[in-house]
């Protein structure tokens, strides 16, 4: 019953190993081409002056993330919906594992970057945001937008690679949402955010204390959800053959624990080498640049550039974040082709419109929360930021309300 949790329409399983049809061969060929294109792009970036290893690392991390997202169906909306509607908590363990692995990794990296956690400084550019009702409102709105549009922003990015036709519309909607966010930013900053504390657990409890709290909370949630994990199917005994390996990698949905661990590790490696994992910085910057160029925004938005998060800036280039997103879509495309999950979905007036509106809600939420389910929830909580926990809880509430109000459309 794994396929029922995809949220991306009906999909057929991978072809049996023995019959390599022409279409299957074509799929593998295109998947290989996508991977070669990623590798070539990474190589070119590496040798380009002003780009270098950081840029290719960002691109390759994005590709790895795209593959993990696609093969593990790491879609925050689908995961939460499975739990809320079907009382299936299995997929949630992917998020919990990502946060646990991320927390351990961040503690290790932080210890190196900022040996003294309690000296009053914050680690460089980690996603530790201001704590106020704004991040809660942002999360709630973001959750509603997820239900309306059919996925969160990272979900739409990887499902773009699966041929999900609503994804480009929702992503365009998020550009509009970011614009609305910029318009409301000034008011929110002056009324609330300027005085909001930037709360960071290790600043009070040290790294060991913060990690202990972090793992205790995650462990408690994992324990509470255990009774909602459905019965596991029996696995036939047998030797490990190439066909079986291929089925594990390309046929079955990856185990949530494995997927979560991979996502958590990529987040840590990315923070160590480039910047914290996030997927909205380039999207928001696109909007901000467009609006600034057209005179709709002033050069500076009060306070915005002083917070850490999925930072937006007026830029006219593809940032490392843009490369990450590009890699994510391309990696997901390769994985979807190889596993026969690529299928153009149908568009209707209704599901296009809801994708657009949902995207706009997510854009606003991600703007005022300085990130989305990846940047603020995943990277924020992994970095022991209180803002990440509040955003996560609010997103859960938003998805819950959205589903109760039957806002989803296929």
């Amino acid at each position: 019953m794994v396929e029922a949790t995809t949220g991306g329409g009906t999909l057929s399983g991978a072809a049996p190993a023995s019959s390599l049809t022409t279409t299957a061969l074509a799929r593998y060929l295109f998947a290989a081409l996508a991977l070669i294109a990623i590798a070539l792009a990474a190589y070119t970036l590496h040798t380009t002056p002003g780009r270098g290893a950081r840029a290719s690392f960002a691109l390759l991390s994005g590709a790895a993330l795209g593959i993990a997202f696609q093969r593990g169906r790491f879609c925050f909306y689908c995961i939460l919906r499975d739990f809320i509607q079907r009382r299936d908590s299995g997929p949630i363990y992917a998020i919990l594992t990502a946060l646990a692995v991320g927390g351990v990794g961040y503690a290790i990296v932080f210890g190196q970057f900022l040996p003294n956690a309690t000296a009053g400084r914050l680690p460089p550019d980690a996603h530790i945001g201001p704590v106020s009702w704004v991040v809660a409102a942002g999360g709630l709105t973001f959750g509603l937008g997820m239900v309306l549009s059919g996925a969160c922003i990272s979900g739409h990015l990887y499902r773009l690679g699966e041929g999900y036709a609503r994804a480009p519309i929702a992503l365009f909607g998020s550009l509009i949402g970011f614009g609305l966010g910029f318009f409301t930013w000034r008011e929110l900053y002056i009324s609330t955010l300027v005085r909001a504390p930037v709360a960071w657990l290790p600043g009070t409890f040290g790294y060991a204390g913060a990690l202990a709290i972090h793992l205790t909370i995650l462990g408690a949630i994992a324990l509470l959800l255990l009774r909602f994990v459905p019965e596991l199917p029996a696995r036939p005994a047998g030797r490990i053959t190439l066909a079986r390996i291929r089925d594990s990698i390309l046929g079955q949905r990856w185990n949530p624990l494995l997927t979560g661990a991979i996502v958590g590790l990529i987040g840590v490696f990315l923070y160590f080498r480039v910047e914290p994992l996030g997927v909205t910085s380039q999207i928001g910057s696109l909007t901000r640049t467009f609006m600034t160029d057209n005179g709709w925004l002033t050069d500076r938005l009060n306070g915005l550039d002083t917070f850490s998060g999925c930072a937006t800036a007026v830029v006219n280039t593809i940032t490392e974040n843009g490369l990450l997103i590009g890699g994510l879509v391309a990696g997901s495309l390769a994985a979807a082709l190889a596993s026969n999950r690529f299928k153009l979905s149908r568009l209707t007036v209704r599901n296009s419109l809801t994708a657009l509106i949902g995207g706009a809600l997510m854009g606003w939420g991600a703007m005022v929360s300085l990130g989305c389910t990846v940047g603020t929830l995943l990277s924020g909580i992994s970095a022991f930021a209180i803002s990440g926990w509040i955003f996560g809880a609010a997103v859960f509430a938003g998805v819950w309300i959205g589903l109760k109000l039957r806002l989803e459309s296929s």
Partner: protein, 315 residues
């Protein structure tokens, strides 16, 4: 045969003498530079030298943390080198504590480097000089060249035994305050003023580069200043131009060290790069006006020059 061998030996001797002479000449002409600049090669060989301490001062947060020269300590320019509330350079007490924590003694050779062409590393060098450090040098080419050459970077933050560095009385001759600059403008003091900002800022076409937070209400420059954008001091690979080239560059603009010099920029840091070039490499008498354009351009009643005629508040 004998004649041939003899002539070969003579030829070899002449060659050796010529190369040796050329080398000797090179060392004499760059002698000043050698005392205040270190090459990446020299630094790589001296990383284990206990009397050398390397300090990174980068503009971008996270750059040091994600990989720095082995053994280097991190000084954060916007907190470690300034008193943020009063807008002043770091107090001597706080500076002494900071420098001692880096394991620096009075006789330690301090080598600074950073991103963005050593902008803020040069500023750090200026502050070290103000507080009387004896041997302060910059890594020629800075972080960019070190990375370009594929040299080793590490991520562990080193811990050193506390040093015994003692701050001296702040050297007032390295720093120009607003009244000092006003005295130059009014002709009471003879000195050359150098504005190191971009030509567009100098001419008043723009008041600051896009996206920066610190602004002045007026655009233009201090009357009598000469515009030499900082980038003219360096080669394409980020290393400083040769002493000869730099001497020529400034002499062509009438600045030859015969009079004291004051450098300034927008918020006061980049001017230190030109201060370093003129005072440390060329040996001129130079002070930094760290109040710079954000002080001068904002101050009521001070004269400015604005060739492009942009008026405060005008549309």
């Amino acid at each position: 045969m004998k004649a041939l061998r003899l002539s070969l030996i003579v030829l070899a001797l002449v060659l050796v003498a010529a190369v040796g002479g050329a080398l000797a000449q090179e060392t004499t002409t760059t002698e000043t530079a050698a005392e205040v600049l270190v090459t990446t090669e020299w630094l790589a060989e001296n990383l284990d030298n206990p009397s050398v301490r390397v300090i990174e001062v980068s503009v971008q947060p996270g750059v040091y943390e994600r990989g720095h020269i082995p053994g280097a300590v991190n000084f954060v320019w916007h907190t470690d080198f300034v008193e943020t509330l009063v807008r002043d350079i770091v107090s001597p007490e706080r500076f002494e504590t900071l420098v001692r924590a880096a394991g620096i003694n009075d006789d330690t050779t301090i080598v600074l480097y950073g991103d963005n062409n050593n902008w803020f590393a040069a500023w750090g060098a200026w502050i070290f000089n103000i507080y009387g450090a004896q041997d302060v040098r910059l890594l020629d080419g800075g972080r960019v060249l070190w990375e370009l050459e594929g040299r080793e970077l590490v991520t562990d933050a080193p811990v050193y035994e506390e040093g015994t560095f003692t701050v001296g009385e702040a050297r007032a001759d390295l720093r120009a305050l607003l009244p000092d600059v006003l005295a130059i403008v009014e002709g009471e003091t003879e000195a050359d003023l150098i504005d190191i900002r971009s030509a567009a800022e100098f001419n008043g076409e723009i008041s600051a580069p896009e996206g920066v937070q610190e602004l002045a209400v007026r655009a233009g420059h201090i009357p009598g200043a000469v515009n030499v954008p900082w980038g003219q001091n360096v080669n394409e690979d980020g290393t400083f131009k040769s002493v000869e080239e730099l001497t020529e560059l400034y002499a062509a603009l009438g600045i030859d060290g015969s009079r004291p010099i004051v450098t300034y920029c927008r918020i006061g840091e980049r001017a230190s790069l030109t201060w370093f070039v003129l005072s440390q490499l060329l040996g001129y008498e130079v002070a930094v006006y760290d109040g710079s354009w954000t002080e001068w351009g904002n101050t009521v009643g001070l004269p400015i020059e604005n060739p492009s005629g942009t008026i405060w508040g005008g549309q």
